[in-house]
């Protein structure tokens, strides 16, 4: 029966897929580590052993920046905030810039929509990290990787 045959091949396909996934399994932890935050000394000093959760922060940078002199950047912190748990600051850390702590944005007054847009300078292809500090001292973070074709630190002068 054709339907039976289809079912059979489907099972076989699934079996092969499972097998392939299992074969790849040893590489999974390495992949997870690649998703972790880059090792930036200034970021390490800021965190001082605290572990930010890699959620809620959406950090948008172009994947490819033609000119590192001015790269549009947007950072958003999702979610419902309460007086006990609201965003008080967002720190930006650069992996390759001469000044690793690029900017700090602070929110002295509560606001429902936490979204900051600016333009950054990037000295080289690198990963950039945004860390949001909550009023209850919980940290959320996200990293974005950018390939820079013209560095932001030299402009031919």
């Amino acid at each position: 029966m054709s339907t039976h045959g289809f079912h059979k091949s489907c099972t076989r396909r699934r079996l092969l897929q499972t097998g392939a996934a299992l074969a790849l399994a040893p590489w999974l932890p390495a992949h997870a580590a690649a998703d972790a935050l880059p090792d930036i000394p200034a970021l390490g000093a800021f965190l001082a052993g605290r572990k930010p959760r890699l959620s809620r922060v959406r950090f948008e940078l172009p994947q490819l920046a033609d000119n590192g002199q001015t790269v549009p950047m947007k950072v958003t912190v999702d979610g419902l905030f309460s007086p006990e748990s609201r965003v008080t600051a967002i720190h930006l850390f650069s992996e390759a810039n001469p000044v690793p702590e690029m900017a700090v944005f602070e929110f002295p007054a509560p606001v429902e929509r936490v979204e900051v847009e600016s333009r950054v300078r990037l000295a080289a292809s690198q990963r950039v990290v945004a860390v949001a500090t909550m009023s209850d001292n919980v940290l959320y973070a996200a990293a974005a990787e950018v390939i820079v074709t013209i560095a932001g630190c030299m402009d031919g002068t």
């Binding site: 002199q69 001015t70 790269v71 930006l92 650069s94 810039n97 001469p98 000044v99 702590e101 690029m102 900017a103 700090v104 944005f105 602070e106 929110f107 002295p108 007054a109 509560p110 606001v111 429902e112 929509r113 936490v114 979204e115 900051v116 847009e117 600016s118 333009r119 950054v120 300078r121 990037l122 932001g152 630190c153 030299m154 402009d155 002068t157």
Partner: protein
């Protein structure tokens, strides 16, 4: 030409966040460049930026050479009462700039 351009909505709804956009005319000199004679150009970037609403700070930024020339900032502020949004900034040379915008809450 003014040192900054500010954009806020014509009217904002009470209790809701509204968008504030500002662009400041400033070279954000990194300190890594040299002039024609090979002399290094001293660093001069805007260090601090404060936005106040009715006198109370609502958004502040500490910037570095990692922010592009003519810094642009877009952020949100919660609408409370009609009043003034004021913006103040200081650079490495000690120069201060300011701008303001009226907010009408409906």
């Amino acid at each position: 030409m003014p040192d900054a351009r500010v954009n806020v909505p014509a009217s904002v709804a009470r209790g809701k966040p509204f968008e504030v956009r500002i662009i400041i005319r400033h070279p954000m000199e990194t300190g890594y460049r040299t002039d024609e004679s090979g002399k290094s150009i001293p660093r001069n970037v805007i260090r601090t930026f404060v936005c106040r609403y009715g006198g109370e700070p609502v958004f502040t930024a500490r910037l570095s050479s990692g922010i592009a020339a003519n810094p642009y900032l877009r952020f949100f502020v919660t609408a409370k009462e009609s009043g003034q949004l004021t913006f103040e900034w200081t650079d490495d040379s000690g120069a201060k700039g300011s701008e303001s915008a009226a907010v009408t809450v409906v």
